[in-house]
Every structure is written in structure tokens, then in C-alpha cells.
């Protein structure tokens, strides 16, 4: 144990030499691990995939039928009423579909952009600059991620009603402009993405701190910033609790508008589900174009987190 070369526990179990049968079995498993798996694996994955797609497809079937389509036996083929139902959703005076769509788009966009900017700046400082109290502040930021949203809503509501901002989209944008997760994410990424020598080189060449940040930091941060943008956008788009509290029914976001679709005593599921599909299409489009980035973002965050 006096040398550095033997840290693995595996080196100490040499005395258990497997018998011939076990060795043959072992050889087989080695081969299976490396080679392409059989149809069972693809079968399982297909079932998972179809489980994900089916509820959406079923919603489209019901959403393209009429008021009694839920009652009829299950059909695989969609009906022809989707556009009629969609137009009924758009024209429903209780729902305000178009304002809701616009509110969702621009509030999510602003929130995501602001989170990326504040998080990249703070993440750069935490990851690469030395300053008094830095590590302690970072621990503090991480700790706040455990605080539930519910803990802040009452004072925030009082604050915004004092300012007369309840019912305004600003009331959902302002509290979301920064994110503890975003700061943590950018710190983790920048710490390993930028070698300290690069910053020193830039400083030696006479670059100011902001110039170093701009040319070295922002350039390196781009991939992580793009993922953070995507996640924040999806999160802001889907957020319901706070917008539901602070926005009024005339000026909602899409999730708030959706929840109003079934608030009548009689629920016409063909209209409700047509609305669901209509509100989900933008994010499905985003998923088709940026799903790959979402996947690698989640997987990259997991290894470090």
C-alpha cells in the first residue's frame, strides 16, 4: 500500500480464479455487452416511446371529434373537426387565446434571455475570479434551490398589488429574471470549460476584466448558455402556479388560459383537448428543432450535479 499504483479494489481479489464454466459464461457476457443488442431492447424502447406519444395522439383524436366523441368507442383515425374545435377555442371569450399565446411567447423569451445574462455573469465570477466570500456565496445560492416557490408568493402578491402590477405580465417576468439554478449551472460549466491559463494570457496581454469576460468567458459559455436558455424557456412557458395567482383572466398565459377551458360546469372534451394540442404545438416544434440540445443538456448537468 505504500505505492500510488494500486487504488482499485479489484487488484486485491486475484485469488478467486473462476472455474471453466464461469469463464465460458463470462466470455459470453463480454461479447453481449459490446455487440448490438437484440429486438427485445428495441421493443422495450418502442413501448416507452409509444407511451409518450399515445396520450398526445389520443388528445388529437378526441380534439378532432365533436362533443360526443369521448362517448364513442375508441377510434384510431382522427375526425375532421380539429379546425372547427381550434377556432372555437380561439374565439372562446373566457379563454383569450391570442393574448395568451403572445404573452407566453414574449414573457418566456424575456425571462430566458435575462436568466442567461445574469447567470453567465455571476457564473463567470464564481467559477474563474477570486474574490472575498465567493465560495460561501455560491453555497448560499445552491441552498436557495431547495426553497419552494410557495414560500414567496404571499409577499410577492402584496408587493405587486401595492405597485398595481397584478394582472400585468411584468408581474410574472420580474420575479423570474434570475435563477439560482442558472448561476449554479453556468458556474459548473465555466469551471471546467475555461483553463485558468487562458484567462492569465488574456490579462497579460492587457485585456481588462470585462474584455476577458467577453472574449474568453462568453465564447466558452455559449453551449451551456444555449441549453440554459432552452430550459428556462420551457420552464417559463409551462409555469402555472404564480401566473395563475397574479394574472387575471383577461390577460393570461397559455397554461392559465388552458385551465379556464374546462371551468364550465359542462365540459366538452373535444374543445378542451383541441385547446391542449393547440397550446402544445409551439413546444413540440421547439422539441423537434432543439430536443437534441435538451437531451445533452440534461445529461451534461447530471454528471456534474
Amino acid at each position: 500500500m505504500s505505492t500510488l499504483g494500486t487504488p482499485t479494489p479489484l487488484a486485491t481479489v486475484e485469488e478467486t480464479i473462476p472455474d471453466a464454466a464461469a469463464r465460458r459464461k463470462a466470455g459470453r457476457t463480454v461479447r453481449i455487452r459490446g455487440s448490438r443488442p437484440g429486438w427485445v431492447v428495441y421493443g422495450i424502447l418502442s413501448v416507452v416511446f409509444l407511451t409518450g406519444v399515445f396520450p398526445l395522439y389520443w388528445s388529437f383524436i378526441i380534439g378532432s371529434g365533436d362533443a360526443s366523441s369521448l362517448r364513442r368507442p375508441f377510434a384510431w383515425v382522427p375526425g375532421g373537426n380539429f379546425w372547427d374545435n381550434a377556432i372555437a377555442v380561439m374565439n372562446n371569450p373566457a379563454v383569450n387565446f391570442w393574448p395568451a399565446l403572445w404573452n407566453s411567447i414574449y414573457s418566456s423569451f424575456l425571462i430566458a434571455a435575462a436568466v442567461v445574462i445574469t447567470s453567465t455573469l455571476a457564473g463567470w465570477a464564481f467559477a474563474k475570479l477570486r474574490f472575498h466570500g465567493g465560495p460561501a456565496l455560491l453555497v448560499f445560492v445552491v441552498a436557495t434551490m431547495a426553497v419552494p416557490q410557495q414560500l414567496g408568493v404571499v409577499p410577492l402578491y402584496i408587493l405587486f398589488s401595492e405597485l398595481g402590477w397584478t394582472g400585468q405580465i411584468g408581474a410574472i417576468i420580474i420575479p423570474a429574471l434570475t435563477s439560482a439554478f442558472g448561476v449554479f449551472w453556468m458556474t459548473q460549466y465555466l469551471r471546467q470549460a475555461v483553463p485558468d491559463e487562458l484567462i492569465e494570457a488574456a490579462r497579460v496581454d492587457g485585456a481588462s476584466m470585462i474584455r476577458t469576460f467577453w472574449t474568453v468567458g462568453v465564447t466558452a459559455a455559449r453551449p451551456a448558455a444555449a441549453m440554459l436558455f432552452l430550459f428556462t424557456f420551457v420552464g417559463a412557458w409551462n409555469n402555472f402556479f404564480w401566473p395563475f395567482i397574479v394574472l387575471d383572466r383577461q390577460n393570461p398565459t397559455l397554461p392559465v388560459a388552458l385551465s379556464l377551458l374546462q371551468s364550465n360546469y359542462f365540459v366538452d372534451y373535444s374543445i378542451v383537448l383541441a385547446g391542449v394540442i393547440l397550446a402544445t404545438i409551439p413546444l413540440l416544434l421547439l422539441f423537434i428543432f432543439a430536443g437534441k440540445q435538451l437531451v445533452s443538456g440534461i445529461m451534461a448537468g447530471a454528471v456534474k450535479g
Binding site: 409518450g52 492587457g206 409551462n238 402555472f240 397554461p255 371551468s263
Partner: protein, 351 residues
Amino acid sequence: MTTTQQRPATRPRTTDDGPRQPRVISFSQKLSKWDLKFSPYLYISPFFLMFAVVGLFPIAYTAVISFMDWDLIRNSGEFIGFDQYVWILTQPHFWTALRNTFSIFVLSSVPQLILAIFIAAVLDRNIRAKTFWRMSVLLPFVVAPVAVGLIFTAIFADNFGLVNNWLTSLGLTPIPWHKDPFWSHIAIATMVNYRWTGYNTLILLAAMQAVNRDFYEAATVDGAGPVRQFFSITLPSLKPTLIFVIITSTIGGLQIFDEPRVFDQFGRGGAAQQWLTISLYLYDIGWGQWNFGRAAAMAWILFVIILLIGLLNLLITRTLVRDEGLHRELTKRQQRALEKTAKRDAKEGSR
């Protein structure tokens, strides 16, 4: 990019300076020193300023309000001590909400975690079209919780819902999805599982791929089958990630609001509070009964519950998943100690 282009221009001049000489500190150098010292604070200030206003202030102020009888019209309150907490803890609705929240949390997190580990293990095989399959498990994640809730409310509708239609066509009795607390919890847990299983699968898959493949090879040489390998190598290596996933799903799961809110058209957790959750109850106290003092107390109770359950889960995961087989990085102190002994050994050996 610009720095690399400028380098040739600046380099020769600095080398021409010759040996370094003591110089008077110029204004620009002073500026640069200030720049070095204060830039970090400048960079973190946008985050912390915003965070103080919309993060810290509300948390502290919720605590203050929770000890008050809040007057909505005057927008001020009167201190009444722990009365709001006592009121909440003596409400039968609170205990029902607590039971429902736990029940939905367990029904969603346990099957979800097992499924996620299983699917991740399948995705960890050497499959074709990796990106496609990984994307396919993530698809439900982009659907808004409210939309998922509405879809599954239709699927689990008592009359003519998809599941009950199938059950009746098979000659079975339909399930009272809304009337019975347990079945309503199953329905809501299904919504949560639908949206989050794929997300957690990808996190666990990333952790699985980080496991050193040599371990598996060594284990197969030692005669361990795939099942033994999974429990002795894969699962212990997943431990830090499992803790992360369990803690985050505890924080999220106990706050559940969106899905139970849209489980019927009234959104108040059912006629007999079958699926009333803590967050639904908080909303009802705050913005149904307009009692902010009680809602604030409720928020603090929820926070304490989340902390307690989070800690409990941390302890459970720590003891349940064994550490053996996990290759640990040496700590710096151990490394130094090892280096020291190695050096001493080398010295003594040469003598």
C-alpha cells in the same frame, strides 16, 4: 478571437522592454487593480440585487406575515403570535391535504425511479440511433403540466374516459377515479410519472455512462452475471445521482399543484378533499378565503415538511444503496500522505 489577432503586435514590444524596472504606478495600473478587485462583485450584483428583491425579501416577509392577522384593505397586519400555525394544524383539511400530498408523492416517485433506472439501463446498451431514442423518452417533458393534467383528466374521466371505456368493454367494473381518494392519487401520480420519467431516465443514463467500463470487464472475468453486475457495480455508482434525483423530486413532488388543480373543473381538490394537496389548500386559503396570514403560515409549514422529508430521503438513500464497489477518488489529504510515504520509500530504497 480578437486577443489572438493582437498578440503579435503586443508581444515584441514587451520583450523589447528588457529587464524589469521599478516604475511609478500609473493611473491605468491603478484602474486595472480596481478592475481586478471589484469586477467580481460587479458581475454577481445583477443576480444578487434581483435575488434580494424577489427571493430573499419574500421569504423573510412570509415569516413576518405568518405571525400576523393580515388586513387586505389596509395592506398591513397585527401580530397575533402562533395563532395562524395553530389554526392550520387544527384543521382536518390540512391533515387530509398532507396525507394526499404524501400519497401522490410516493405513488409518483417510487415507480418513476424504478422505471427510470430500468429504461436508463436499456438505453445504456450499445443501441442504434441513440439520439432518437434518448429524445423519444424526453418528449413528454415539454408538454406543460396543465396540458398533461387535462389530457389525463379525460383519460381517467369517470364516465366514458378512455380507461373506463376499456374496462367496461372487457366486462370489468369501471374505476371511480374521482370519487375514491386512492384512485384519484393514482391518476394524478400517473400525470407526474408521464412527464418526469424520461427526464430522470436521462440523468441516470448519464451517470451510468460515466461508470468505468473496466469494472464490468473485471466483473465478467470474475464470473458475475448481468444482474449481479447491476446491483454490485451500476447501482452503487449511481448513488450520488440517485440522491440528487430523489432530493429534487422531493422538493418538486411535495409542491404539486398544477395536475390536481385541473383534475376536475372546480379545482378545489374534490368534493370530499379526495385529492386536495398542500399547495391547493394554500391557494384556497390565500386566494379563495383571502387570508394571507394563514397562507403564509401554510407556506412555512410546507417548507419545513420539504426539508424534513428531504433529509429523511437522504438518510434512507445513503443507507439503502451500498458504497462497496464504488471507485472513490482520493481526497487531497490522502493523496498528499500517499505521495509522502512514496517519496520516503523511494529515498530509503535508494540508500
